[in-house]
């Protein structure tokens, strides 16, 4: 059976209730199409992770699909604190999620350790802070401090992470899943490779020959990939370099909507639950804001000098 399937099939087949999921993105290449599908399928009890989470994680928390969050940061950036995240932690709405707190150095290193088959990794941050004084569901396995066997000095160790599945959005992939990105990477490569399997969402499916014209851009090899989903505009309201810009106006819309539970539920209904798939989402966007708004987000082309791998 081929790996190229719809998002509906990919999420139904490869994301189970209670799974531990790495979700790539850093405003850059957020896999929003997949996130909406997870919410539509009302997955339960997920553990989610990534460094620097934003509106996507906030939305999943508000929608009640998340039980645990291994995180470093969650905010709406320009638009302030994550409303659903705050309601969950401060008021238990819809319920209080459990949070294990790390930093933007430690968490990527833990994902790297997972990707590399290392059991743990030493890091040089977090000491002297209260991040070491709070432990949640990982308990004493959140970290260890040992005397280095090399110089006898204390050193902090953090464990490798092994997500059940990673979901990433990339610019292009071939039909078997060789996935290529350009632009800000965040922890996408380490996170994807730390997981037991990878769902690749992409702006376009290209031929294996096209991948081979610039193979240094590949961050995940096909043998780790279980599904390839072509989802143009799949990161909106985030962006994909070379394809479309961040939608700042939509960010403001989400902030305003998520200020209240009712507003958030209306938003979820309009943009997620009552929408069939990503192409219906694009149609709804154009219907709601006009084709000119959609067009205004599209990137202009500014090609660089083509690389040559010839010898």
């Amino acid at each position: 059976m081929g790996k190229v399937i719809t998002m509906k099939e990919a999420i139904a087949r490869h994301v189970n209730d209670g799974d531990f999921i790495f979700i790539g993105g850093y405003i850059c290449r957020t896999p929003f199409a997949a996130i909406h599908e997870i919410i539509r399928q009302a997955k339960k009890g997920l553990t989610i992770t990534r460094s620097n989470a934003a509106d996507d994680f906030d939305m999943m928390i508000g929608a009640g699909v998340v039980r645990r969050f291994i995180g470093t940061f969650l905010s709406l950036g320009l638009y302030g604190l994550g409303r659903c995240y705050r309601r969950s932690i401060e008021k238990g709405v819809p319920f209080k999620i459990e949070v294990e707190e790390y930093s933007n150095l430690s968490l990527p290193m833990m994902l790297m350790a997972g990707a590399m088959g290392m059991p743990f990794v030493p890091v040089r941050d977090m000491v002297g802070s209260d991040l070491l004084n709070v432990k949640s569901f990982m308990g004493d396995d959140k970290y260890k401090i040992i005397e280095s066997p090399f110089d006898g000095r204390p050193i902090l160790l953090v464990p490798a992470l092994h997500p059940d599945v990673a979901i990433i959005h990339v610019q292009q992939a071939d039909e078997l899943g060789n996935a290529q990105i350009w632009g800000i990477g965040g922890d996408c490569k380490a996170g994807a490779n730390s997981a037991k399997k990878v769902i690749v969402s992409c702006e376009r499916i290209v031929s294996r020959d096209t991948i081979g014209k610039d193979p240094s851009r590949t961050i995940v090899p096909d043998f780790k990939v279980v599904a390839v989903v072509e989802e143009p505009f799949g990161s909106h309201p985030g962006y994909a370099p070379g394809f479309y810009d961040v939608d700042f106006a939509f960010g403001a819309l989400y902030q305003k909507a998520s200020d209240t539970v009712e507003g958030f539920e209306d938003f979820l209904g309009e943009w997620v639950l009552d929408i069939e798939d990503r192409s219906a989402y694009i149609q709804h966007y154009i219907h709601r804001f006009g084709y000119s708004s959609f067009k205004a987000l599209q990137a202009e082309f500014d090609y660089g000098y083509p690389v040559s791998y010839a010898y």
Binding site: C28, F73, L105, L131
Partner: protein, 266 residues
């Protein structure tokens, strides 16, 4: 002598205070807003060899609009390098290549500890804030950190509710005892009222200079601990003509820095 035009706004003065802490050749890790402005002012004036990076993986960006986040699309085209968190936070910061980091927070205390995690009790907080993100590693591993803060009794504290990012923790030698490199730590707290520096022996912040429209008494009154005042305390040098020209003509022609006035930086 430098000329000092008097039509500047407070955020411009604060950006200049940040710029003056940067030396030629410094490798600087920035976020958005003030830090980027400060680092670029330095680059265009006394520190042409300073270079900037963002934690998201970007080195030496040349954005065509002010970046609104460290993941902003405008940081990609024209950068010298675009990698990921492991490159900047691991290969550059943890490996000891970063000279200066900028930090800000919802709460900053007298030891330069910063809280961006919770207001109130951690288990049942009054406000859940974003968390560390890159702040803790920057505060732990950059050689010098520059802190931007609003000067009032809400934002400054004798002790923060939660140490997300360590300053001098509870005294000058506490960082080293935890295993951090000697000589690192916060260098300055730049507020909308003045500039605070840190005692070498105690790790406590003291008033080094007061901004032109305020007074030592006002600042001491706005500080929630017994603020010591330096023997050589003086008025902060206002923005120089050259610094204002760089800000207004080159870096921020739309004067987006004015939004900081709405955030209380007046």
């Amino acid at each position: 002598m430098h000329k000092h035009p008097d039509d500047y706004i407070k955020p411009e003065l604060m950006a200049c205070c940040g710029a003056r802490e940067i030396k030629d050749g410094d490798v600087v890790i920035v976020g958005t807003g003030f830090p980027t402005m400060s680092a670029n002012i330095a680059k265009y004036t006394h520190a042409p060899g300073a270079t900037l990076m963002q934690e998201s993986g970007v080195y030496d960006a040349s954005p065509k609009r002010p970046a609104l986040s460290v993941g902003d699309p405008c940081l990609n085209p024209g950068a010298a390098m675009v990698g990921g968190l492991l490159d900047v936070m691991g290969m550059f910061l943890q490996a000891g290549w970063v000279d200066v980091g900028f930090l800000s927070g919802s709460q900053v205390d007298k030891f330069g500890n910063i809280n961006t995690t919770v207001i109130g009790d951690y288990q049942s907080p009054k406000s859940r804030l974003p968390g560390s993100g890159g702040a803790n590693p920057i505060g732990s591993l950059a050689k010098r950190t520059l802190i931007i803060a609003l000067h009032n009794k809400m934002r400054l504290a004798e002790h923060v509710d939660f140490i997300t990012t360590p300053g001098y923790i509870e005294g000058a030698d506490a960082r080293e005892k935890c295993g951090m490199s000697p000589g690192t730590g916060p260098q300055v707290i730049i507020t909308n009222k003045g500039v605070l520096r840190f005692h070498k022996e105690t790790g406590e912040a003291y008033l080094a200079s007061y901004h032109p429209d305020t007074s030592i008494d006002e600042i001491v009154g706005l500080t929630p601990w017994e603020l010591e005042v330096a023997d050589d305390v003086h008025e902060t040098e206002p923005p120089r003509e050259e610094e204002l020209r760089v800000m207004r003509d080159v870096l921020d022609p739309l004067r987006m820095i004015k939004i900081y006035e709405n955030k209380g930086y007046v």
